[in-house]
């Protein structure tokens, strides 16, 4: 029997991913570290402020984790919520677990705690990078109903690796926000296929915005997490420069594309509309050599020929 990651609560996800009986929570619900800002707004405050942090093991390796509960305020980050994640990450710098696991499901900053939420997201970003600089891989999993957006969309890309499911969505401004500000002609948030072609798991995988795509099951996420733990951490200037090159190529190649389909066509997919119908294995097989990073690899000889021109010059 496969368990859907998408349908699960944060607690069910973490329980499903960790080795049996290895779950240990820091500041659990009984500690009642609730948001101090919601009562004034007549809003109920969850016992754990919508995030579970702690330690456990996966395939025998110690991991620290944070799991956001999308069901509570869309997983949005408030003061306490953010500080729990920061505390866990800073502890990882001190204690060196084999990896940090971030199960993200969030719209970003909790508007009810606007300023505190924004600062908290910034602190999370810096703490993620501190953990990586200390040699601890930070692995993000995205596959919940609310996707991963706002400042946490930025934070997720500060991590070492992102695992996403086809149902997962990753971006900065949500479709509704853009539609509200720019109008429905710019971005129709109710056009689910369009949203999927813009921020959906398969598009992100092809673009190189995530490392692994998995079917929506706890087992598949778990396998991918183990692989990412084994990959270790590569926090280096060289890696950053490679990323810079990829991102520069992306703007050049796809900057004038109007739709995800145009990008996919550019990547060599003769029938972009078939992508949506492929199951995960079929898609990964077909995507061999048809991801943006593969194009870059194919061009790498050309790159070297550019000689002394440093890859980061604009």
């Amino acid at each position: 029997m496969t368990h859907s990651y998408y349908e699960s609560s944060a607690r069910a996800r973490i329980a499903g991913l960790l080795d049996a009986d290895s779950f240990h929570e820091w500041l659990p619900a009984a500690d009642r570290l609730t948001s101090p800002h919601l009562a004034a707004l007549e809003q109920s405050a969850a016992f754990d402020d919508g995030v579970i942090v702690g330690r456990g093991s996966i395939a025998g390796k110690q991991v620290f984790f944070a799991a956001q509960e999308g069901g509570f305020m869309g997983g949005a980050v408030g003061e306490v919520h953010g500080a729990k994640i920061v505390g866990m990450l800073e502890r990882a710098v001190r204690d060196h677990p084999a990896a940090v696991l971030l199960l993200l499901e969030t719209g970003g900053v909790r508007l009810q705690e606007a300023n505190a939420g924004l600062i908290a997201v910034s602190e999370v970003m810096r703490a993620i990078l501190s953990a990586r600089a200390a040699g601890v891989p930070v692995i993000v999993a995205i596959g919940g109903q609310y996707g991963c957006f706002g400042g946490m969309g930025i934070a997720s890309r500060c991590a070492s690796a992102i695992i996403i499911s086809e149902e997962g969505r990753l971006g900065l401004s949500g479709p509704e926000v853009i539609e509200t500000v720019r109008g429905v002609e710019e971005y129709d948030s109710r056009d689910r296929a369009l949203v999927w072609r813009t921020v959906g798991g398969k598009h992100r995988y092809l673009l190189g915005e995530c490392d692994t795509i998995v079917p929506d099951s706890m087992e598949a996420f778990q396998r991918a997490i183990i692989a990412c733990i084994n990959n270790g951490e590569d926090w280096s200037l060289e890696a950053l420069e490679r990323e810079h090159q990829l991102l520069g190529d992306r703007v050049q190649r796809f900057g004038s594309c109007k739709d995800g389909r145009d990008i996919w066509r550019e990547l060599g997919w003769a029938d972009p509309d078939a992508i949506a119908m492929m199951d995960n294995d079929e898609f990964i097989a077909a995507a061999q050599g048809r991801r943006a990073k593969d194009l870059e690899c194919a061009d790498s000889s050309a790159l070297e020929k550019r000689g002394d021109k440093s890859p980061h010059s604009i």
């Binding site: 007549e42 109920s44 969850a46 509570f72």
Partner: protein
């Protein structure tokens, strides 16, 4: 926001381990069950976003206690407008989890 408190005496002292069930999302609730030396009583505190339903809560809680008759337990509920059926379901899940986790531990 409304804060409601209930106490039921003469329950059966029930061993277990602190348990949390449910999510504080629209139409749902979270239930926290903790051990407490209450002389066999069961205390329940409800924080709810929906005002004016105290009599319904009273009835749901009375039914819950009649079903389980648990004592030395403190139950805390955060509610975001769940129906009585959902509330009963979550309370049952919470107490069952509390007891089951206690059995694993011992």
């Amino acid at each position: 926001m409304e804060n409601l408190k209930y106490r039921f005496d003469n329950g059966k002292p029930t061993q277990g381990v602190t348990a949390i069930v449910g999510v504080l999302g629209s139409g749902n609730l979270e239930v926290l069950v903790e051990p407490a030396a209450l002389g066999g009583a069961c205390e329940i505190e409800v924080k709810t976003a929906a005002n004016g339903f105290d009599r319904i809560w009273q009835a749901v809680m009375k039914d819950f206690f009649a079903r389980h008759r648990v004592g030395d337990i403190r139950i805390s509920v955060n509610d975001a407008g769940a129906t009585p059926a959902i509330v009963s379901l979550r309370l049952d899940q919470a107490i069952e989890t509390y007891i089951a986790q206690g059995k694993i531990k011992t």
